[in-house]
Amino acid sequence: METIDIARLKSGEVNLGTSIMAVQFDGGVVVGADSRTTTGSYIANRVTDKLTHVHDRIYCCRSGSAADTQAIADIVHYYLQIHTQTTGSAPSVHTAATMFQKLCYDNKDALSAGIIVAGWDKEVGPSVYNIPLGGGLFRQPWAIGGSGSTYVYGYCDATYKEGWGRDETVEFVKNTLALAMSRDGSSGGVIRMCVITEDKVERLFIPGDQLPKFWQGKEVLGTDIKKDADLAAAVAMAVDA
């Protein structure tokens, strides 16, 4: 029986390896992403902006095929502009998310796109919608996606708390992305974040050399000579065994 591997990119296609996330807080949402785009093992763009504007207070995070997600985001951006003109008011995040979902689901065999839609609207306030590969739509208080997300599910589950303010949410997003980027080969570069509230969209940027640092391994590979000798002996024993 033929199986359609929708998760596989066509050869030569540009891949948004990626770590993306969006978290809802009291006054808005914080969306964040890494900045690496790869073609095979070559990094085609090390400063990509994966946080795409689709409306004044609605952004989407793109993962999967760069071509597919750019095309989808352009289409939704276009339809939301028409929607704004015909209805006379800003669209809700749910409307935008449903447009994304329709495209992703109806074309699921031809697309490789994992998208997180997040923003603020008047009816509901802040919201986050996750649209993984198959084209399902899931509203969540926080969502992570992309190849790097698998490494940080544990960290997010353990750390997330409801009722955070803007600064704590930004810290959470920053730390999560830094951890994902340090473990996932397809994620890296800089961290880009957007804080979307009723009043404005604030863009934040953290350069690659200022990423939060976690365990780097100094306790094991330290400069203490005695410790090194013990380690060398231990390694030698392991090799002989």
């Binding site: 066509k10 296609e13 540009v14 400063v47 095929s65 760069a66 071509a67 095309a71 352009d74």
Partner: protein, 281 residues
């Protein structure tokens, strides 16, 4: 047997697939399309954009064209370098150039780089990567200098310096080491030449000469064969054979001037012909 019409419907025609798979199974591979192998680059400097390209076109391992032009015209202030399948880059850029001129006439405004970028990416995405065109699009318009890279599947990146093609890694290494923001024209041009030269000398798919194109707000300057680091040296001796090396066994001279006898038709026939001639009174 009725002859097939040469006017097919729109889009690609896959009727040769059966024949091709048949041949491939019997050990006769598809002929390789002419590829531009290539090193193409673009970089932003103080006054605008500089695009660069090598000039080798390959057909598998053979160099098909030693001095081809890879910097294509889109509009007066926008140019596009093309890597990948030569025919695809040639025709894609020509189509978008034509559409851009129509668009400019229709809007009454000077054309913008993002317009060309959107037309190119939407077309390439529609063909799902089957059009093998990897492009570096650059120009200066009313919103300032812009530089984009467009991959065959339709994804785009907007960057201050870009490289594409088989020599892109060699060229990118040079850019990453030496690019600065707000460079002067001479420095930027030198950098672009260094990047293309890196591709020419370190990548088998790139070679021959360096083409450059400097685009500023006021004018565009095409520097064809700006650097020629691979000129053919003079041969050490003359390899001419002296006359008489090959013995002549027979000589036959034919005149290629055709002798014609023209027989006019009868007067009646001629009169009828004249009568059918256009009446211009």
């Amino acid at each position: 047997m009725a002859t097939a019409s040469v006017y097919k419907g729109a889009g690609f025609d896959f009727t040769n697939e059966v024949r091709n798979t048949f041949l491939t199974e019997r050990g006769i591979p598809l002929p390789k399309a002419t590829s531009t192998g290539t090193t193409i680059v673009g970089c932003l400097f103080k006054d605008g954009i500089i695009l660069g390209a090598d000039t080798r076109a390959t057909e598998g391992p053979i160099v098909a064209d030693k001095n081809c032009e890879k910097i294509h015209y889109i509009t007066d202030n926008i140019r596009c370098c093309g890597a990948g399948t030569a025919a695809d880059t040639e025709f894609t850029t020509a189509l978008i150039s034509s559409n851009m001129e129509l668009h400019a006439l229709s809007t009454g405004r000077k054309p913008r780089v993002v317009t060309a970028m959107t037309m190119l990416k939407q077309m390439l995405f529609r063909y799902q990567g089957h059009i093998g065109a990897a492009l570096v699009l650059g120009g200066v318009d009313a919103t300032g200098p812009q530089l984009f890279t467009i991959h065959p599947h339709g994804s785009t990146d907007k960057l201050p310096y870009v490289t594409m093609g088989s020599g892109s890694l060699a060229a990118m290494a040079v850019f990453e080491a030496k690019w600065q923001p707000n460079m002067e024209r001479e420095d930027a041009l030198e950098l672009v030449c260094a990047a293309i030269s890196a591709g020419i000398f370190n990548d088998l798919g790139s070679g021959s000469n360096v083409d450059a194109c400097v685009i500023t707000a006021s004018h565009t300057e095409m520097l064809r064969n700006f650097v020629k680091p691979n000129e053919r040296v003079q041969k050490e001796r003359s390899y001419q054979f002296r006359r008489g090396t090959t013995a002549v066994k027979k000589e036959e001279i034919r005149s290629l001037v055709v002798e014609e006898d023209i027989t006019h038709l009868t007067s009646a026939g001629r009169g009828a012909a004249e009568g059918e001639a256009m009446d211009t009174s």
